[in-house]
Symmetry: none
C-alpha cells in the first residue's frame, strides 16, 4: 500500500473534484480513476478500499486546513484574537477551495456511521484547537471562568459549521469571510466576563 507519490495526490484531488461535481453517492471508483487519469485498479495500490480513500481525502485536506489554521494562530497573542483568526481562517479556506467546501460541508456527511467515526477522529484535532483558545481566554480572564469547555466548544464549532453549511447550501451566493467579524463578536460576547443580563 503505497501512501505517497504523484498518483496518490492525483487520486485524492480527483476524488474531491468528482464528489463535489457529482455528489457522494454518484462518485464511483471508476469515475474517480478516470478523473485522476489512472486505471481503476491503481486506486487499490494506494488505498485499501473506497472507504479508505474517502477517509484519506478528509485526512489530507483537513490536515492542511488545520495546519494552516495552527500556523496563523501562532502569530496571535490573545484568545480573542485567536478566536477571530480561527473563524476567519475557517471561512477563508472554505472560500478558497470551492470543491472542498462542498465535499466537507455536504457530501462527506452522507456517509455511514463507521466512516463518520473515522472522520470524527480527524476533527478532534480541530476541536482541540478551539479548546486551547478557550483555556487561554479563561487564563487571560476574558472568558467567564465557570464556562463548560465542552459546551463552549460546541457553540463555537456549531455556529461556524452551521454558517458554513448554510453558505454552501445557498450556492456560495454571498461573501462568507465577510461574516467572520459579526460571528466572532457574538461568540466572544457569549463567552465574555460581563454583568449578567437581567432575566
Amino acid at each position: 500500500m503505497k501512501r505517497k507519490g504523484p498518483k496518490y495526490e492525483k487520486i485524492i484531488d480527483a476524488a474531491v473534484n468528482v464528489i463535489a461535481e457529482h455528489g457522494y453517492h454518484q462518485s464511483q471508483v471508476s469515475k474517480i480513476a478516470k478523473e485522476a487519469g489512472v486505471a481503476d485498479g491503481t486506486i487499490y495500490l494506494y488505498f485499501k478500499n473506497k472507504e479508505d480513500l474517502l477517509v484519506s481525502v478528509f485526512n489530507e485536506k483537513m490536515g492542511t486546513f488545520i495546519e494552516k489554521t495552527e500556523n496563523e494562530l501562532k502569530g496571535k497573542d490573545t484568545a480573542i484574537e485567536k478566536l477571530r483568526t480561527l473563524v476567519e481562517m475557517h471561512f477563508k479556506q472554505l472560500t478558497a477551495d470551492y470543491e472542498l467546501s462542498i465535499v466537507t460541508q455536504l457530501e462527506l456527511r452522507q456517509t455511514n456511521r463507521q466512516l463518520r467515526a473515522k472522520i470524527g477522529e480527524v476533527l478532534k484535532r480541530y476541536l482541540n484547537l478551539i479548546d486551547t483558545i478557550l483555556q487561554d481566554g479563561m487564563k487571560e480572564g476574558v472568558f467567564v471562568p465557570e464556562i463548560d469547555i465542552r459546551l463552549a466548544r460546541q457553540m463555537i464549532f456549531g455556529t461556524i459549521d452551521e454558517t458554513a453549511t448554510n453558505w454552501v447550501m445557498n450556492d456560495h451566493r454571498y461573501d462568507l469571510p465577510a461574516l467572520a467579524d459579526a460571528i466572532h463578536q457574538m461568540l466572544v460576547n457569549g463567552l465574555s466576563v460581563k454583568m449578567p443580563h437581567s432575566n
Copy 2:
C-alpha cells in the same frame, strides 16, 4: 395515495424504529414493511417512494416537535424566556424519544442533497420560530439591534444542534436538558446589549 389511516401511522413509526435500530443504510423498505406488519407493496399505497416516506417521517415527527414547542412558547412573555423554553423543549423532546433522537441527529443526515433539501423545508418552520424570538428580543431592547438575524439564528440553531448531536454520538450518556441553562446563558450573552468587550 392515502395520506391517513392506521397503516399510515404504523409505517411512519416502523420507519423510525427500523432506522434507529439498524441505521439509515440498513433500513430497506422490506424491513420497514415487516416491522409495520404490512406488505412491501402497501408502502407504495401511502407513499410515492422511499424518499417520500423518509421526508414524511421527518415531517410528521418534526411537525409534532415544533407544535409542542410553539405551544410552550405561547405562555412566555419575554424573548429571553422564550429562548430558554426553546432550548429546553428541544433537549427534553429529544430525551423523551430515544429513537427519534437517533434518527434526526444521525441517520437522516446521511441522505443525498435532494432529500436534505426537502428536510430543510420542514426545518424552516422551526427556524422561523427562532427568528421571531430574535425579533421580539430586539423590540424589547434586550438583544443588540444591529444583529444579523440570519447569523444569530445560525448561532442558536448551530449550537443547539451540535450539542444534541454530540449527546447522541456519546450514546445519550449524560443529561441533556441539564445543559439547557448553560447553553441559554451563553446564547443570551452573545446576543445581549452590553458594554462592548475591549479587544
Copy 3:
C-alpha cells in the same frame, strides 16, 4: 428463502445445463438466470448465494441418484447382486443424463475446499450404501471377514468413479454400462473368500 416451486426446479436444471455446456468457471449467475428464464435477482429468492445454488444442484441430483439406487437395491437378495446393481445403476444413471455426468464427474470438482466439504456430506449417504453392502456380504460369508470396510469402500467407489470420469473425459465415446459386469467381477474377486494367492 423459498426452496420449492417451479422456478426452483427450473433454476437447478438451468444450472446443470449451463455448467455442462460452459464449464464451472464460465457459469455466471446471469447465464444461469437467462437459461432458466428468470431475472438474476430471482436466483437469490431461492438460494442464499451462488455456492448455495451449486450445493443444491448436487443435493437434488445426487439425492435422486441415490434414491433410485436404493430402490433398485431393495429388490436384490445377496450382497453380490447388490454390488452389481450399484455399479450398473451408477453407470446407467450417468449415461441417462449427459449433462449431469459432466457436472458431477468434472465440473463440480473444480470447487474450493468449502464447497467440496458440503458436497462430501451428500456423498456420505452413497458411501453408506456401499458400506451396508459390504457388511451384508460379510454376514453372508461371501466377503472376507477381515476386510477393512473403509478400504473396501474406497476400492469400490474409487474404481467406479475413476471409470466414470475416464468415460466422461473420453467424451462418452463408449458404452459405460457395458463395463459394469467386468468391473463388478473384479471388485467381487477382490473381496471374496478364496484361497490366498501365492506370492
Copy 4:
C-alpha cells in the same frame, strides 16, 4: 523462456508451498513470487503463464515421483511384487512430502478442464507403469488373461487415489503406508486367476 536455473526451482517449490498453505484459489502469482523471493515479472521469464507454471509444478514433482517408483520397480521380479511396490511407493512418497500430498490430491484438482487435460498427459506415464505391471502379470499367468487392461488400471489407480485423497482429507491423521498391504491384497485378489465365485 528459461526452463532451468536456480530461480526456476525456487519458483516451483514456492508454488507448492503457497498452494499447500493457502489453497489453489488463494495462490496468486504475486504470492508465489514473494515466497520465491523474485519479482512478479520474473515468473514470466520462466513460465509462459500461470497455467504453465502449475503444469510445470505437476510435471516436475510427478516426474520425480514416477522416477523413484520406476527405480524401485526395477528390483522386483514378479508382477505381484511390483504392484505391492507401486502401492507402497505411492503412499510413502505422499507421506514423505506433506505439501505435495495436499497439492496433488486436493488443490490441483480444482482446475479447469484444460489444465486437468495437461495434467492428465503427465499422469499417463504413471498409468503406463501400471499397464506394464498388468501385462507382466498376465504373461506370468497370475492375472486373469481376459482382463480388460484399461479397467484393471482404473481399478488400481482409482483405489490408490481414492485412498490417498481420503487420507489427506482426514488431515493425514493415520498411517497411510500401513494400508498398502491390505490394498495390495484386495487388488491382487481382484485380478488373480482363481475359481469363479458362485453368484
